[in-house]
Structures are given as structure tokens and as C-alpha cells.
């Protein structure tokens, strides 16, 4: 167990190094000059700026300096917000993205399991048809359309109620998080519902269910103890990659709902060619995702005794 975890962690560190290198190479391929701005500046000022960010050194040297700093966990100063450290930016804004992402995953997972189980129970009857129709909608409509519609819904809801029941944008309280996380989790929820449904239907035909039924267990007990518990397993496997997709895919929701998350920073940084912020966020996200996948894999070993970690 310990050896397995250790092995995975070492592989993870190498993966993070790979991500960092790939980012560094890709970023230096981007045409354009990060130090250039609206107003042209004197050569003296430019030289000072280059020295400040170490851009006066050869690229290979910059790469090794960057790797060295990365080891000490220092990503430098932002190019666009010159008095903020990239570490501060990540520390301030990642928790927001993470909260949003986790809440979205929570909605997606509970919703997916619940709806999936329901559709399986009511197979080919009205609830199944309605839910599957909604699922199909959830899978086939782009998230930005949902985000815009969701916000519009809140505006109308509030104006109907005559007061602000749920804030239409912003961040802070739980009610702020409600709509954005639901919008963000919708696609995943639809995916999980489908998965849950087919996994439930497959299990119905398994021998142990037949045995349980033959033993005369109550349908409710069979449903909860045997069917549901076993059907959830495949759902958990896809959760790892889905966490990844959700936490990095929050740009649109963050933009529409005015949420101070890290995703928005990344898009801005790419547009502004803010080298240090691009490097910092990508490496940080990469490391986070690698860690998430490892954790999910290890957890899976605990949940499903059939999987032996080796």
C-alpha cells in the first residue's frame, strides 16, 4: 500500500516536471513581447524591466532558474500586477475555484447517482423518459448557454419575488455559489446519470441480485444494499478525471458570474502574455490534478475490495 502510494507520488513529481517543461516551451513559442505596453517606453526602462524578470538571460538559463524557483515553490512576480506575487494570486484565488469545483462535483455526483438510480427503477416509464430527456439536454447544450440562461433565471426570479432572493453574481455566501456550481456541474451530472443508469441496469441481471431476491429480501433493501452500492463503483472511477475537467473548466462560469477564481486569471494572463502567472497557474493546476487522480485511485482501492493495489 505504502510502496504503491510512494511509487505513484514519484511518478506524479516527474509528471509535474513534464507539465512545467511543456508549459515553458509552449509559452516561449507564443509570439509577442510580454514587456510591451500601450505606451512605448525608453530603452533604459526596458532594460530595467528585462533585468527585473530575468528576461535578459538566455532561454535555457531562464528554464533552469525557473525549475530552481519552482522547487522552492516560488513562481515570481506577475507581469501585469507588478506588486503581486504569483503565489499570492494562487493562494487568493485557487480556493475560490476549488470551492466552486467541489460544490459542482458534489451536485453532479449526488444528482447523477440519484437520477441515475431513479431512471433505472422507473425504466422506460415516464420519470425515466423525462429525466433522460433532461440528461440529453444537459449533454448537448454548451455550458456558456446554460450560464447565461441560469443568470437570467435568477434575475427573473428576483424581480418576481420583488427582492433579491439569490444573488445573480458575485462571491461570498453559499447562496452566491448555488447557481454557478449547478451550471458548472450540469454536464457532469448528465454524464454520471447515464453512467449510473446503465450500470444499474447491468447489475439487475447479476446473480447476487437474483440470489438476494430468492432469499426474500425486501426490494428496498436489495435496491440500497446491493444494487446502488455496486452500481456506484464505475461512477467513482470517472470522478477523478471529471474533477480535473470541472476545476479547470470553470472560466466561463467564473466570467459570467463574476467569481474571483483562478480560471479567469489564467485566461487574462494568456491574453496579456503574463509569463509568470501562466507558468504558475499551469504548474499548480497540473500538480493539483495529478494529486487528485492519485487520491481517487487510492480511494478506489478502499471502496472496491476487488481492486488490489499492487
Amino acid at each position: 500500500m505504502l510502496a504503491y502510494t510512494l511509487k505513484r507520488l514519484i511518478a506524479g513529481v516527474i509528471t509535474v516536471w513534464f507539465i512545467a517543461t511543456a508549459t515553458f516551451i509552449a509559452m516561449h513559442q507564443v509570439p509577442g513581447d510580454p514587456l510591451m505596453n500601450d505606451k512605448a517606453v525608453s530603452a533604459e526602462i526596458r532594460a530595467n524591466l528585462e533585468a527585473k524578470y530575468g528576461l535578459d538571460k538566455p532561454v535555457t538559463e531562464q528554464y533552469f532558474i525557473f525549475l530552481g524557483n519552482m522547487l522552492t515553490g516560488d513562481f515570481g512576480i506577475s507581469f501585469t500586477q507588478q506588486n503581486r506575487k504569483v503565489n499570492d494570486i494562487i493562494r487568493d484565488h485557487f480556493p475560490v475555484s476549488a470551492t466552486l469545483g467541489l460544490l459542482a462535483i458534489f451536485f453532479a455526483a449526488t444528482g447523477g447517482v440519484l437520477w441515475g438510480a431513479l431512471t433505472a427503477v422507473y425504466r422506460n416509464r415516464l420519470p425515466d423518459i423525462i429525466i433522460m430527456f433532461l440528461v440529453i439536454l444537459g449533454i448537448s447544450v454548451p455550458s456558456f448557454v446554460f450560464a447565461a440562461l441560469g443568470q437570467l433565471f435568477l434575475v427573473n426570479l428576483n424581480s418576481l419575488a420583488g427582492q433579491s432572493i439569490i444573488p445573480v453574481a458575485g462571491w461570498g455566501t453559499f447562496s452566491h455559489m448555488l447557481m454557478p456550481s449547478m451550471v458548472l456541474g450540469l454536464g457532469t451530472m448528465a454524464l454520471l446519470t447515464r453512467l449510473m443508469r446503465s450500470s444499474m441496469l447491468e447489475i439487475v441481471n447479476e446473480d447476487y441480485i437474483k440470489t438476494a431476491r430468492a432469499k426474500g429480501l425486501s426490494p428496498t433493501r436489495i435496491f440500497f444494499r446491493h444494487q446502488l452500492r455496486n452500481a456506484i463503483l464505475p461512477v467513482i472511477t470517472v470522478l477523478g478525471p471529471q474533477i480535473a475537467a470541472i476545476t479547470t473548466g470553470g472560466f466561463v462560469v467564473e466570467l459570467v458570474f463574476a467569481i474571483p477564481g483562478l480560471g479567469r486569471y489564467f485566461v487574462q494572463a494568456v491574453q496579456q502574455l503574463d509569463y509568470t502567472v501562466i507558468m504558475g497557474t499551469t504548474v499548480f493546476y497540473g500538480a493539483f490534478l495529478v494529486l487528485m487522480v492519485i487520491i481517487v485511485d487510492i480511494l478506489y482501492g478502499f471502496i472496491d475490495p476487488r481492486v488490489r493495489l499492487s
Binding site: V30, P31, P34, N83, D92, P167, F257
Partner: protein
């Protein structure tokens, strides 16, 4: 199932308990809530360049002089001033204080201005100091900062030695680059200066008490501000930071913010909700800049003339931009610039080509005779939706009416700048906003020495007129020169003015006394008050 029920109940509780937050304007506490389009990138006044930082700083800091609502210069930290050909002297008011209660002195200005000129600060706006003696040399690293022509004669007298006679010097000091910075505080913060609410010292009508990056900030009335009796607002809350106009309109509709700008996509929704819509001309000119470097097809005058005659600014403003407030692009010099006694554009009307297909085709024929068939031209634009839309429009116009193919080159901010500087374009969509209240802020843009002249237009006669305007203090001489410059811009079709930017916005009807201005913080809530 029980667990699920419990969870659902919890959710419902959350709905029910969602606190009803304060509305965007509150009469009793005189509090105002707004949204910003982005996080202020730089609140160090010596380095700030953008509008959002300018807006925030404008409420937190005060320079020597400022503008009133109608654009007249009125005393700020300085209570009076005196100008000669070679010097400007400012006498500071006794009661001007920092937010820690210490007085604002002339030394704070000297220190701040030296920081700006210092090449180590790498301020983009260092050039704005150029009327001050030695400023340019210091910025190029040729002289130490102590040589800057600015001197604190005593705590309350500031004397500036000018490099050349500068008619507009007093107006220049409105700009945030000229705000004071106190040395001891600045040095105590080091690299962290202006990084957070506690890392700034304020001498303006408000002070910042909270700053959650990218989320919110709070400005409250500064109890040490000299004119505090006339400030009605107790607090300005910035509760939201979002660039999405629709999100901001939704927040306005929801009563969460008291001010938002509209755009072509959102104004119809605001209209159908019966909001009071207001209009404001920002004072910026948008134009197409040609590449004048030798060898480029756009270096040919007749080709530029052909485009000048085929472009219909009316259609641009009314059908493409299609929001009220924009003015037809008739000149590089916007309408608000002052001339001798009246507005410059009323004294020196800009010559107009007018939409004329025949004339355009005649010029095109001349151009083809000179440089052969016109190759596809590259139009460099930024990646903003408005810019690309305008690019698509120009593409349609040139192709359908003149048969000239236009290739649109959409680039992000830095890439576009890099291409503009290296000259990898034929035409580039550009805009220019004023830095100070004088015609020169537009006039010297196309001078051959100006680094921002990205098309590298070079005309000795134009340069001569700009120099004349720079070195003279006589309004008539200066405006005559600029009137001639405007004629050259037209005759040479140096740039193609497209429109003068106007914006429409929503402002809560209970707020009175908000100033919108071309120069300085905009919008300015300093003297705003909330009526019942």
C-alpha cells in the same frame, strides 16, 4: 433516503436564510455600491496607466489641482499657483493631510515625481514629465533623479523648473502620475507598496479599508481630507469585479450596483426594462492607422485616398457600432479639445472626404498605375468583439466596393503590440485617449519621433508644426499650427478616423452629482450624494 431528505432540507434552509443584502444605494448611510470591470492592476500612482486604476486612485488621492464637474481647473492640494515661461510655482494648502493625519508637503510631490522619472521605477508614463527640466535625461539614465527640475522651497511651496515653455503644465498635474507619495511610508513598504489596502497612504476624499483581490474593495470617507464637509458619501463599495456587461446589467437590474456601462448587445434589454439611459463621450478617437514604411502598399497616397473616400463614417457609427453616443470620425482631434476661444473643431472645422464611390475608384486607378494591382492588405485588429466586428465590416466595404482584399489578423493584446512595433501590418485598428487636457496629447502622436507612431509616418512639415505648438505659449500660434496639421492629416490621408467613442450607461436615479470626464477619474463619485 433519509439522508437525501436532510440534505434537501438544508438546501431549502439556505434559500430561506439567504440574507437580503444592502441595495446599491442607501440614503441613510449614504453608501453606494458599484462594480469594476477589472481588478485595478496598479495602485502605485507613479506607475498606474489604466482607467480602472485611475478611477480608484482618483477617489483615494489628490494632486495639486483637479477639475470641477464642468471641466474647469480648481485648487486641489495647492490653493494657488503661478506660471511663467520657465517655472511653475504651487502653494500648498495648510489643511491637506494624509490619512494618518500628517500634512501633505511639497516634499511628497518631489519624491513622487522623482520616482516617476527614475528609470528603475520603469513607469510607462515617465514621458508625461517631459516638460519638467531634466526629466527626459533622467529617464534615459543620463542624470541622477536628484537633478529633476522640481524643488520644495519649503513644506508648502513647490517650484517646478520647466524644460520648455509649457502652456498646459498646470492642467497636466491633474493626472494620477503627479499624485504625491510620502517617502517614509513608501520606503517602509518596499516592494509591497500599493499591493494591499494597508500598503497605501491616502490624501484624497476617500480611503480604502478593504481590498479582496479580484473580488471587492471598500472605500470610506477620509476623515483627514481637507474638504470633508462637502463630501456626502460615507462609503463606496466595489462589491463585484466583472468584465461581462450582461452580468453587470443583471446586477443593476437586481439592485446590486448603482452604475454600469451598456454596450450594443445590452442596451436593448436596458431599454425594455425602462431604465434611464445616459450618454457620455469619452474623448477618445478610434482610427485606422496605415503603415507608411517604404515598400508597403499603404505607403501609396492614392491608395490611402481611395480608402478615405470609400469609408462612410455615418454607416460606421449608425449601423456597425449602432449605439448612441458615438460621433462620426471626422478628424484625429476630437470635438472636446479647446481652441483659442471656443472648441478647436468649431474654430478649425475638419475637412471631410464624404462617401464618394466615383472619387474612390479614380484614386484606386491612380494607385494601380503607380504600384500595380493592389495585393491583399493585412488589417491588424485586437481580439475584442467590437474590434473584430469593425474589421469584418471594413473587409466587406473594401472587397465589395473597391475589390481590394483585406486579410484580418486578429491578435491578443501583446501580440498585436509586437506586430505594430515591428511593422507587420498594412492597416491597424487603433484608438487614442487623451493623457492631458491639451491638443498636443493628440497632436504629437504622428510626429516622426513619437514611439507610438506605429505606422512610422514621417513628414518634416508636420513635425515642424508640432514643435511650434510644443514650444509656444501663444494660443493663436499654437492652434493655427494644429489647424494646419489637421489639414495635412486629411490631405495625406495619414490615418482614417472612424469614430469618436461614446458610451451609454445606467446610473441609479437617486444619485446626484456624479461627474463624467474625459481627463481624470471617470466616473467621479467624489461629490455624489444620494437623495431620498
Amino acid at each position: 433516503m433519509r439522508h437525501i431528505t436532510v440534505f434537501l432540507t438544508c438546501l431549502l434552509c439556505q434559500f430561506a436564510h439567504a440574507e437580503v443584502e444592502a441595495t446599491s444605494v442607501d440614503f441613510h448611510s449614504q453608501t453606494l455600491t458599484i462594480a469594476l470591470t477589472q481588478e485595478p492592476p496598479q495602485l502605485n500612482s507613479a506607475k498606474a496607466t489604466d482607467q480602472v486604476s485611475g478611477l480608484v486612485l482618483g477617489h483615494l488621492m489628490q494632486g495639486l489641482v483637479r477639475y470641477d464637474r464642468r471641466g474647469n481647473v480648481i485648487p486641489g492640494v495647492a490653493e494657488r499657483w503661478e506660471m511663467t515661461e520657465t517655472t511653475a510655482t504651487f502653494w500648498l494648502r495648510k489643511d491637506a493631510k494624509w490619512s494618518d493625519g500628517k500634512p501633505v508637503t511639497a516634499h511628497d510631490f518631489v519624491f513622487a515625481w522623482q520616482r516617476v522619472a527614475d528609470p528603475k521605477t520603469a513607469s510607462q508614463y515617465a514621458f508625461i514629465l517631459s516638460p519638467i527640466k531634466n526629466a527626459a535625461e533622467i529617464n534615459e539614465g543620463k542624470l541622477p533623479v536628484t537633478e529633476l527640475g522640481v524643488l520644495a522651497l519649503d513644506d508648502r511651496t513647490l517650484q517646478v523648473t520647466l524644460a520648455r515653455p509649457t502652456a498646459y503644465f498646470v492642467k497636466l498635474t491633474v493626472f494620477n502620475t503627479f499624485y504625491p507619495i510620502r517617502q517614509d511610508f513608501f520606503e517602509s513598504r518596499g516592494d509591497q507598496y500599493a499591493a494591499d489596502a494597508k500598503d497605501l497612504l491616502y490624501n484624497g476624499p476617500f480611503k480604502m479599508t478593504e481590498w479582496t483581490h479580484s473580488a471587492s474593495l471598500k472605500m470610506i470617507k477620509n476623515e483627514h481630507y481637507w474638504d470633508r464637509e462637502n463630501i456626502s458619501l460615507n462609503a463606496i463599495n466595489v462589491d463585484y469585479i466583472t468584465a461581462d456587461t450582461r452580468a453587470r446589467l443583471n446586477l443593476y437590474t437586481d439592485g446590486k450596483i448603482a452604475f454600469t456601462r451598456l454596450d450594443g448587445e445590452t442596451y436593448k434589454d436596458a431599454l425594455s426594462q425602462r431604465f434611464r439611459i445616459r450618454r457620455f463621450t469619452t474623448g477618445s478617437t478610434f482610427y485606422l492607422e496605415y503603415n507608411h514604411r517604404p515598400g508597403k502598399p499603404t505607403a501609396n497616397l492614392n491608395l490611402r485616398k481611395a480608402i478615405q473616400y470609400i469609408f462612410d463614417p455615418d454607416e460606421m457609427v449608425n449601423r456597425v457600432l449602432a449605439t448612441p453616443g458615438n460621433l462620426r470620425g471626422e478628424s484625429l482631434f476630437p470635438v472636446w479639445l479647446n481652441g483659442v476661444n471656443d472648441k478647436f473643431r468649431r474654430e478649425y472645422p475638419a475637412p471631410q472626404a464624404g462617401y464618394n464611390v466615383k472619387e474612390a475608384k479614380r484614386y484606386l486607378e491612380l494607385a494601380v498605375n503607380e504600384i500595380g494591382p493592389i495585393p491583399p492588405l493585412v488589417l491588424l485588429v485586437s481580439d475584442s468583439p467590437t474590434a473584430t466586428k469593425q474589421g469584418e465590416y471594413m473587409q466587406g466595404v473594401l472587397l465589395n466596393k473597391l475589390g481590394i482584399e483585406l486579410k484580418i489578423d486578429v491578435q491578443t493584446f501583446k501580440q498585436r503590440l509586437a506586430k505594430m512595433t515591428s511593422g507587420e501590418f498594412d492597416i491597424v485598428g487603433a484608438g487614442w485617449g487623451p493623457d492631458f487636457d491639451d491638443i498636443l496629447t493628440f497632436g504629437d502622436l504622428l510626429a516622426s519621433w513619437n514611439m507610438n507612431n506605429r505606422g512610422r509616418y514621417n513628414n518634416p512639415e508636420y513635425d515642424r508644426l508640432v514643435r511650434l505648438t510644443m514650444n509656444s505659449t501663444d494660443p493663436k500660434t499654437r492652434m493655427d499650427a494644429m489647424g494646419k496639421a489637421q489639414q495635412i492629416l486629411f490631405d495625406d490621408a495619414v490615418v482614417l478616423p472612424q469614430y469618436e467613442q461614446g458610451v451609454i450607461y445606467l446610473l441609479h436615479p437617486k444619485i446626484k452629482g456624479v461627474a463624467r470626464r474625459v481627463i481624470g477619474p471617470d466616473p467621479d463619485f467624489t461629490y455624489a450624494k444620494i437623495v431620498p
